[in-house]
């Protein structure tokens, strides 16, 4: 079971590393769209990794010695909790990109200009559709 714990610890630390990337991106990137990019990708991946690591710890915590001797009732609660944690990971996988998409759309529609290094002075993005009255 020590292998599962080590895997879990590695996954949690990996998640923290990805979140560090997302945090640096959110602080350092120049405009809203690139910040959204960093946050959307790094946040989702790090959340899923950390939750998977926690699932590893939960499965490692089961008293396997008793389970092998036939006491399966001990298995119910950890498995249920693990399924719930995996459910959170699944939901984050679905909802986080959707909210990123919706925020991006809202940012575009509320008129936030992207930071274009060579064309800083003509600040309107070229492909902005003219609103239909």
């Amino acid at each position: 079971m020590i292998i599962l714990q080590i895997t879990g610890a590695i996954l949690v630390i990996l998640g923290l590393v990805f979140f560090l990337g997302a945090a640096v991106g959110v602080v350092r990137f120049p405009d809203f769209y690139s910040r959204m990019h960093a946050a959307g990708k790094g946040d989702t991946l790090s959340t899923i990794l950390m939750l998977l690591g926690i699932v590893c710890f939960l499965i490692a915590d089961v008293p396997w010695a008793a389970v092998i001797h036939g006491d399966f009732s001990l298995l119910v609660e950890p498995i249920l909790t693990s399924i719930k944690v995996l459910m959170i990971a699944l939901l984050i996988m679905v909802t986080s990109p959707t909210s990123t998409h919706a925020l991006m759309q809202a940012g575009y529609d509320s008129g936030i200009k992207p930071h274009l290094s060579e064309a800083d002075d003509d600040s309107t993005p070229s492909d902005e559709e003219t609103p239909t009255p």
Binding site: A9, A23, V26, R35, L103
Partner: protein, 94 residues
Amino acid sequence: MELFFKLAGMALFVLMLPIFYRLIAGPNAMDRILAVNVIGTKTTVLLVIIGMIFARVGMFVDFALAYALLNFIGSLAAARYYHQDRLRQERGAS
């Protein structure tokens, strides 16, 4: 193991601080909503980690699930509001 989760939770909290900076300093409202969304997603993980520390994950995972779902609805509502805001302004202008 409890020590590991305490450290992981603290690291998660410390890494939220730069995002909190974006929440305070963000040049416009969309950046702030972005920061709130990221902090909300991370709070889900933080809740599960707190559950691991207290050894009552079965209870805390329910909060985390509810928080994840409601956080999604919250950021979607904020996004829809700003989406509509511009349309409303156009309607007022035209």
